[in-house]
């Protein structure tokens, strides 16, 4: 977005100088966050971007129903949609002055609604064209793959993964270390976190052959640690790539 300014500690209004078009959401971004030029921030509530987070071009943040919190170390990919665009029956007034407490100005709001905050915790990856609807809570180190949809009020546990084209129903929950794969509601699989028992086939083979069992395998957490390390490197590289390519600005 061309109107992005260097970060400040206070909330910034980008819609103050405009009288038409959708309202631009106040943005509070960490100086170390990387936000591309063409990212869309709309709505009346605050959008918070944490440290080290990378937001790819053409991602959309719709803060019409409540604030959006994106914590540190996240990657929001191209055309991902966080929040929900306004519906036609409840279109916001475009010339509404920005405010950190939008519920105070009841004159421009058709009906008082409860704030529905959307939270994306630390080290979360939201894939291209994925949708995280208002009220969803994505816990740390989770992965939302391309074209996945997290409906309203859904809760995605830490270190879990919602695979491409999967959909988590409104109010649904995904436990920690669970992978939702397939299509639509999909199937679920619990990831290995600690040291798992050896496969019965291997144990039986060792018994039959009267040979010692192979050495115990390391805990499954090792794989997750490695993935997070790779994610960290990806963020570093992305931060370098996005700025010259998109002409954006590093915060």
């Amino acid at each position: 977005m061309a109107t992005l300014k260097p970060p400040t500690n206070t909330h910034r209004s980008s819609s103050a100088s405009h009288s038409s078009g959708p309202p631009k959401a106040p943005l509070k971004a960490d100086p170390t966050a990387t936000i591309a030029d063409t990212v869309v921030f709309q709505g009346r509530y605050l959008v918070t971007i944490g440290a080290g987070t990378v937001v790819h071009p053409r991602a959309k943040f719709y803060a019409y129903e409540g604030p959006i919190f994106v914590d540190d170390g996240c990657i929001i990919c191209e055309k991902a949609v966080i929040g929900a665009p306004p519906t036609s029956s409840r279109s916001p007034s475009p010339s509404r002055p920005p405010s950190t407490s939008p519920t105070e100005s009841g004159a421009s709001t058709p009906e008082p609604r409860k704030e529905i905050s959307t939270r994306i915790s630390y080290f979360v990856t939201v894939g291209p064209l994925a949708t995280v609807e208002p009220g969803a809570h994505v816990h740390s180190s989770a992965t939302i793959e391309a074209l996945a949809t997290i409906r309203r009020g859904a809760d995605i546990g830490a270190h879990s993964k919602v695979c491409s084209r999967c959909e988590i129903a409104a109010g649904g929950s995904v436990a920690e270390w669970v992978v939702v794969y397939g299509q639509g509601p999909g199937m679920r699989r619990k990831r290995a976190r600690g040291v798992k028992e050896m496969s019965p086939a291997v144990v039986a083979a060792a018994q039959v052959a009267q040979s010692p069992l192979p050495g115990p395998a390391p805990a499954g957490k090792v794989i997750e640690d490695a993935r997070l390390m790779v994610l960290q490197k990806e963020r570093e590289v992305l931060g370098r790539m996005l700025i010259p390519a998109a002409g954006g600005r590093k915060k």
């Binding site: 695979c163 794969y181 199937m187 018994q207 052959a209 390391p218 090792v222 640690d225």
Partner: protein
């Protein structure tokens, strides 16, 4: 038909081999209105005189050629193919469908690593890649070999190594397996899960040998039974001890032990001197046959019938079943089902911990839970050559290298027959007749209103082709649609170089003429609609018929719907996709080919300049659209 309108199918002549029924044809000739399913074909249906003369001529010809192709016939499902799926045999000069060819495997290769597997290794590898290529047992995505230590930065490329799925994040750590080397993962995994005991086969052979002593040819059948019963009684006490002592065998080991045991049993029982049948007739299970024969022989009534006067022979040895664990017998434990149910009900397993049917299909039968699944080596694929069934001529031969997508030989039919394409003629504003139906939506063609369809045939040969089209005046089936080809005979230019047309000035006026003809927008009988370098477009005038029982059907004369009751019955009996308008078109093409290509040509006549006239004829089906149920 599943293709979107309009579509074209070509009928392979291999399915055109039904026994002709002369009586049926006679009926259809005598009363064509009562049975419109089998109207005689018309070569030129634009003129009634031509129709009659063509009919008279064709009556003298072979009756097989007169039979109109019916796209709604059940046999047509097995003969109609999209043009791009057909091949062409240069020896037989015939179109070849997938039923007319035989396939030969050229090479086996892994689609993941693109390594070719020798045919001698394919069976021993179980048709799967013997290297590092695996699929995820949970989601079937390809698995990657990755090291753990490298990721944590301790010691690069030193392992241990795991197989990991990039999609569902399954790793071999989920089943507690790691690998010491990044290569030969298949052999490492096989070594881990190989449950064949080193002495299992020997033990099994020993057990069979001891039983062989019992089944001495001189010993009687009763004595064998007695001894085996005694052994079973002893075994009841001894077997638990043995089973407790011996570890349970794995699935492969048990299979191998059982296979070996029964092979020994079969060989022992079939090699007896009393067994004549196995050697003479080659029965695969002579033991079973012996048992049956002995049953018949022991029956007093049957023995009286079948040579009862003969002396009873010595009873043949009987094949027994596996008795011990070393022979492959596995006695189900009492608590296994209970344990399984308890594990299923436990919170750490639950529904998500159970393996699905798809997951279990390629795994060991014992695998019930996700934790029991093992990574799957990738199935091999094949490259296949295709031969003509009749003349064994090679039609398709790919290069054997898996990395190459090229073909050494590929005789696709579209190189020899013109490619048909179909589109509706949009009537221009100036020339549109008021009676013409708008043809924007082919999924709802109004009945009884004529539409014009443009049929373009594109020639891919380097010789010009003369085409003759013929359609029945009324389509077969209960929905009688009138079809007229406005110019049934025409010529298509050769598929010459594109630059020839540009360099030769003579072709320019042709194009302009054709364009102007197209601009005229009035299809005329006997004239092609448009013509290009190697394509020609002709117009088909189609009057869609009325569906049985539809409101548009009044004085149409369809005998099925004369009264209201019959209407109801006709609607009830309307078959699926009966409203689909499919036009059978008989295509006859002839061209002058070089004689040197084939000395033993099948052409009718030869030309002085070493050219022979070659001809090809086939049926084609044009899927125009769907007829509206009412006007």
């Amino acid at each position: 038909m599943s293709r979107p309108f309009p579509y074209t199918y070509i009928s392979c002549p291999c399915a055109d081999t039904p026994v002709p029924d002369p009586a049926r044809k006679r009926r259809s000739r005598e009363s064509p209105q009562k049975s419109p399913q089998k109207p005689p074909p018309e070569r030129a249906n634009t003129d009634q005189d031509k129709k009659l003369s063509a009919k008279e001529e064709e009556q003298g010809e072979d009756e097989d050629e007169e039979q109109t192709f019916d796209p709604r016939s059940p046999r047509s499902n097995f003969s109609l193919y999209p043009p791009e799926q057909l091949l062409y045999c240069e020896e037989c000069h015939q179109i070849k469908c997938p039923r007319c060819i035989t396939e030969e495997i050229v090479s086996w290769y892994c689609p993941s690593c693109l390594f070719e597997t020798p045919s001698s290794m394919v069976r021993s590898d179980g048709n799967r890649c013997g290297r590092n290529c695996f699929n995820c047992p949970v989601c079937t995505a390809p698995l990657a070999v990755s090291t753990i230590e490298n990721a944590t930065g301790n010691a690069p490329q030193q392992g241990p190594w795991v197989l990991s799925c990039g999609y569902c994040l399954w790793t071999t750590l989920d089943i507690g397996i790691k690998f010491d080397k990044p290569t030969n993962i298949r052999s490492q995994l096989q070594k881990m899960t190989d449950s064949t005991p080193p002495a299992a086969l020997d033990r099994s052979r020993q057990a069979s040998r001891t039983f062989e002593d019992l089944k001495h040819p001189l010993s009687s059948y009763a004595s064998i039974d007695e001894q085996s019963n005694a052994r079973e009684r002893d075994g009841e006490q001894a077997a638990p001890k043995e089973d407790q002592g011996a570890p349970p065998m794995g699935m492969d080991a048990r299979f191998a032990a059982l296979k070996n045991f029964y092979r020994t049993q079969i060989s022992e029982t079939s090699n007896s001197p009393n067994d004549h049948l196995s050697s003479e007739f080659g029965f695969s299970s002579p033991g079973a046959l012996n048992r049956l024969m002995s049953l018949y022989a022991s029956s007093s009534r049957l023995s009286g019938l079948y040579g009862g006067s003969k002396k009873p022979k010595s009873k043949p040895p009987v094949m027994r079943e596996a008795l011990t664990a070393s022979e492959g017998l596995q006695v189900a434990s009492e608590n296994s089902e209970t344990d399984m149910i308890a594990r299923l009900q436990s919170p750490e397993c639950g529904w998500d911990g159970m393996a699905s049917i798809d997951q279990r299909a390629t795994q060991s039968p014992d695998a019930r839970f996700i934790d029991d699944l093992l990574p799957l080596p990738v199935l091999l694929r094949t490259k296949r050559a295709k031969r003509c069934k009749s003349c064994k001529h090679i039609l398709v031969k790919p290069e054997s290298k898996p990395q190459s997508t090229r073909f050494r030989i590929r005789l696709i039919a579209l190189s020899y027959i013109p490619l048909p394409t179909l589109r509706p003629l949009a009537p221009s504003s100036s020339s549109a007749l008021p009676a013409m139906a708008p043809t924007s939506d082919l999924n709802s063609l109004p009945p009884l209103r004529p539409i014009h369809i443009l049929l373009t045939l594109k020639n891919h040969m380097f010789d010009p082709v003369r085409i003759t089209l013929a359609t029945p005046p009324v389509t077969p089936g209960r929905v009688a649609t009138k079809v007229t080809v406005l110019s049934p005979q025409f010529e298509i230019g050769a598929n010459s170089d594109v630059w020839d047309e540009a360099l030769q000035g003579a072709s320019a006026p042709l194009t302009s003429d054709s364009r102007s003809a197209a601009l005229r927008g009035v299809p005329e009988a006997g004239k092609v609609w448009d013509k290009g370098r190697n394509w020609t477009t002709v117009v088909l005038e189609v009057v869609p018929g009325t569906l049985p029982g539809s409101s548009a059907e009044g004085g149409d004369g369809n005998p099925n719907t004369e009264t209201n009751d019959e209407d109801v019955l006709a609607v009830a009996a309307s078959r699926q996709d009966e409203d689909v308008l499919e036009i059978p078109v008989f295509v006859h093409m002839d061209w002058d080919a070089d004689a040197q290509l084939d000395q033993q040509n099948v052409g009718k006549g030869s030309k002085p300049d070493d050219k022979v006239t070659r001809e090809l004829a086939y049926w084609m089906v044009l899927g125009v659209g769907r007829i509206q149920p009412s006007l």
